[in-house]
C-alpha cells in the first residue's frame, strides 16, 4: 500500500465517523423538535434549551460534520455539461484544477476558524445565549469540518494529478449525472 492509499484509508475512516455523528445529530434534531412542539402545545411547557441546542449544536453539527463525506460521495452538486464533450484525460485535468483551486480556500477558512476557536478556548468565553456552555464547544465544529474538507480536497488533487502523471487510475472520476448506480 502506498502513502496515498494509506492516507485515503484513514481519510475514509475519519469522514465516516464524522458522518455517523452527523446522523445521530440529525435523528436527535428530529426527536427534539417533536418533543418540544408536543410539550408546548399539549402541556404548554416547551423546553427552554431546545432552540439553542438546535441552532448552536445540532444543525451546524449535521452540516459541518458531513461536508467532507458528501464531497467523497460526489454529493456536492456540479454542472457537468462540458464534461460530456471532453476526453477522459481532460476531465482529470478539470478535476485536478478545480480541487487545486478550492483546497487553499478551504485551508484558509480552516485556519481562520481554528484561530478564533483557539481564542475562545484560551479566553474561556461562554455563549451569550441561555446555555451555560463554553463558546469553543460550538465554534470548534467549523475548523473541524473545514479541516476534514481541506484534507479530503487535497487528497483529491493528489489522486487526480497522480492519475494524469502515471496513467493508472488512482482516483475515479465523479459519475456523470444520470449514470450513477441505480439504488435497489
Amino acid at each position: 500500500m502506498n502513502t496515498y492509499q494509506f492516507s485515503m484509508r484513514w481519510m475514509r475512516i475519519a469522514d465516516r465517523l464524522a458522518a455517523y455523528l452527523a446522523c445521530v445529530m440529525l435523528f436527535a434534531l428530529m426527536m427534539l423538535v417533536v418533543t418540544d412542539v408536543s410539550l408546548r402545545y399539549i402541556f404548554n411547557a416547551p423546553l427552554s434549551w431546545s432552540y439553542d441546542t438546535i441552532s448552536l449544536f445540532l444543525l451546524p453539527g449535521v452540516f459541518f460534520l458531513s461536508m467532507s463525506y458528501t464531497l467523497s460521495t460526489h454529493g456536492h452538486v456540479s454542472v457537468d455539461i462540458l464534461h460530456n464533450y471532453v476526453s477522459q484525460r481532460t476531465r482529470y485535468v478539470f478535476e485536478a484544477l478545480t480541487s487545486a483551486i478550492a483546497t487553499p480556500v478551504f485551508g484558509f477558512i480552516t485556519w481562520i476558524a481554528a484561530q478564533s476557536t483557539w481564542k475562545d478556548w484560551v479566553m474561556g468565553t461562554y455563549l451569550t445565549s441561555g446555555l451555560e456552555v463554553s463558546t469553543w464547544t460550538t465554534t470548534v465544529l467549523l475548523p473541524f469540518g473545514f479541516g476534514l474538507l481541506t484534507v479530503r480536497s487535497l487528497l483529491n488533487v493528489w489522486g487526480y494529478l497522480a492519475t494524469l502523471i502515471t496513467d493508472k487510475q488512482w482516483l475515479a472520476l465523479p459519475p456523470m449525472s444520470g449514470t450513477e448506480a441505480v439504488e435497489s
Binding site: C23, V33, F64, M67, V77, V79, A102
Partner: protein, 429 residues
C-alpha cells in the same frame, strides 16, 4: 467591473465542473479580498458559515429531506398509484392520469421531486407498459408528475426560496397548493389530448367494482394524516413551518415503524442519505452567503436594479425576460443551485417592479419544474430513464407535450396572480 470579473471567474469554474458551492466560496473569497482586503475576508469567513448553518429556519431543509426518505421507506407511496388507477384506470389514458394523481399525492407528503420521480417510475411505468401504453407516453407522464413534489407542500424548494428571500415560508408553502392542483389537472388534460389524438397510445384498462374502489382508498388515510400534520397545521397557523417539518419527519418515521420497515440498516441508510442531501443544499446556501457579501459590498444588485428600471421597459416585458432566463438556466443547471444563485439578485428587481414575493416564489418553482424535464440536464428524465431502463431520448420525447402545456399554465399564473396569492391570503395571520 469588479463584480463582472468575479462573476466571470465563477462561471468559468462552474463550467469546468467545480461543485456549485465551492465555486461560490472561491469566487466570493477572491472578491471580498479584492474589495475589502484581508479584514473584510476574515470578518465574513469567520462568522458566516456558523451563523448561516445555525439559522433556525434551516431546520426545515434536513427535516423535509428526512421526511421524504421515511415516506419512501414506509411504502405509503407505493399503493397511491394502485388506488388512483382503481378510480380512473377505465378512462382512456387512465393509468397515465393515475400517475399524475399519484404524483400529486406523493408530492403532498414529500418535498423532493427526484425522490418522487424515482418512486413513481418503479410502480407506474411497468403497469402502463403491461397494458400496452406507448413507452414514450408512459415515461413522459412519470417525469412530469414527479416534479409536482416540488410545488405541492411540503416543498424543499419553496422553503429554500423563503430562507434566501426572507419571505414568509408558511404563505409560500400554502401558495403552492392551488398551482399544484392546476398542474395536476393540466397533466391529466394533456394525457387526454394525446390519447384523443391517437387512441392506440393507451389501450383501455380493466374496470373495478365500487367495492374495490372504496377498499383502495385505505392507502389514502396515512397520506392524508401526514399531509394534515404538515400543510394542515401550517395553514391553520397551529405550528410554524419549522415545527411542522419536524412533525412531518417524525410522522413519516412513525408510519415506517408501523409498516415494520425500520431496522438499524434502513434507518441508518435513510439518515446517511438525508445528511448528504442536506449538506449539499446548506453548503450552497452558506457559500452563496459569502458570495452575497461581496455583491453587497460592490452594490452590484442595486446597480442592476437601477439599470433595468432606467431602460423604460414595461414590467411585463421584464418578468417575461426573467422567466425566459430561468427556463434557459433550468436546461443547464441544477434547480436548487439556480434558486440560490439568482434569487438574491432577481428578487430586489421583482420587488422594485411591484410584484408579490410569494407569487414570484411559486412562479419560479413552476419554471423550475420545466427545468427538471428539459434537456440536457433534466434531472427527472435521468431518474425515470435509470429506474425504468428506457432510453433517455424516449423519455425526453414523451415529455414535450407536457412542457408546452406547462408553459401555457405559467402564462396563466403570470396573467392571474390571484391563482397563487388567494389561498395564502385566507390564512390566519
Amino acid at each position: 467591473m469588479m463584480a463582472a470579473v468575479i462573476v466571470a471567474i465563477m462561471f468559468s469554474m462552474l463550467a469546468i465542473g467545480m461543485p456549485v458551492a465551492f465555486a461560490l466560496a472561491v469566487s466570493g473569497c477572491m472578491g471580498l479580498y479584492w474589495v475589502g482586503g484581508m479584514d473584510a475576508l476574515t470578518g465574513v469567513v469567520s462568522t458566516t458559515p456558523l451563523s448561516t448553518a445555525g439559522t433556525y429556519e434551516m431546520i426545515s431543509v434536513p427535516m423535509f429531506i428526512l421526511m421524504a426518505e421515511f415516506v419512501i421507506l414506509s411504502g405509503v407511496a407505493d399503493n397511491l398509484f394502485k388506488a388512483a388507477a382503481t378510480w380512473v384506470g377505465r378512462v382512456p389514458g387512465g393509468l397515465a392520469m393515475a400517475t399524475a394523481l399519484a404524483g400529486a399525492g406523493f408530492g403532498a407528503i414529500s418535498g423532493s421531486s427526484t425522490a418522487s420521480a424515482a418512486t413513481l417510475s418503479s410502480t407506474t411505468v411497468p403497469a402502463m407498459l403491461k397494458q400496452g401504453y406507448e413507452p414514450q407516453l408512459a415515461g413522459g407522464v412519470v417525469a412530469i408528475s414527479g416534479t409536482l413534489a416540488m410545488l405541492i407542500p411540503p416543498s424543499i424548494a419553496l422553503v429554500l426560496y423563503g430562507i434566501i428571500a426572507d419571505v414568509n415560508i408558511s404563505q409560500l408553502l400554502v401558495g403552492g397548493v392551488v398551482p399544484g392542483l392546476m398542474v395536476t389537472v393540466t397533466i391529466m388534460l394533456t394525457v387526454a389530448f394525446l390519447v384523443w389524438q391517437k387512441p392506440e397510445r393507451a389501450p383501455l384498462g380493466i374496470s373495478y367494482t365500487m367495492m374495490e374502489k372504496f377498499r383502495s382508498l385505505k392507502v389514502v388515510g396515512p397520506m392524508l394524516i401526514l399531509f394534515m400534520a404538515v400543510t394542515g397545521v401550517i395553514y391553520t397557523g397551529v405550528a410554524t413551518p419549522t415545527e411542522a417539518s419536524g412533525i412531518g419527519a417524525f410522522g413519516a418515521f412513525a408510519l415506517a415503524v408501523r409498516a415494520g420497515k425500520i431496522n438499524w440498516a434502513t434507518l441508518f441508510k435513510a439518515l446517511m442519505r438525508a445528511i448528504q442531501a442536506s449538506c449539499m443544499i446548506i453548503m450552497i446556501i452558506v457559500c452563496a452567503k459569502i458570495f452575497g457579501y461581496f455583491f453587497s459590498l460592490t452594490q452590484t444588485t442595486q446597480m442592476i436594479v437601477s439599470w433595468v428600471s432606467h431602460q423604460g421597459l414595461s414590467k411585463w416585458v421584464v418578468i417575461g425576460l426573467i422567466l425566459c432566463g430561468y427556463i434557459m438556466l433550468g436546461c443547464l443547471m441544477d434547480q436548487i443551485a439556480i434558486l440560490i444563485l439568482t434569487v438574491p439578485v432577481v428578487l430586489p428587481l421583482i420587488l422594485a417592479l411591484g410584484f408579490d414575493p410569494v407569487w414570484f416564489g411559486v412562479i419560479i418553482i413552476v419554471t423550475a419544474e420545466v427545468g427538471l424535464v428539459t434537456p440536457p440536464v433534466g434531472l427527472n428524465i435521468f431518474v425515470v430513464s435509470r429506474y425504468t431502463g428506457r432510453p433517455l431520448k424516449e423519455v425526453f420525447a414523451g415529455v414535450w407535450p407536457h412542457v408546452i402545456a406547462h408553459l401555457g399554465l405559467l402564462v396563466l399564473f403570470v396573467a392571474f396572480p390571484g391563482l397563487i396569492t388567494w389561498l395564502p391570503s385566507t390564512m390566519n395571520p
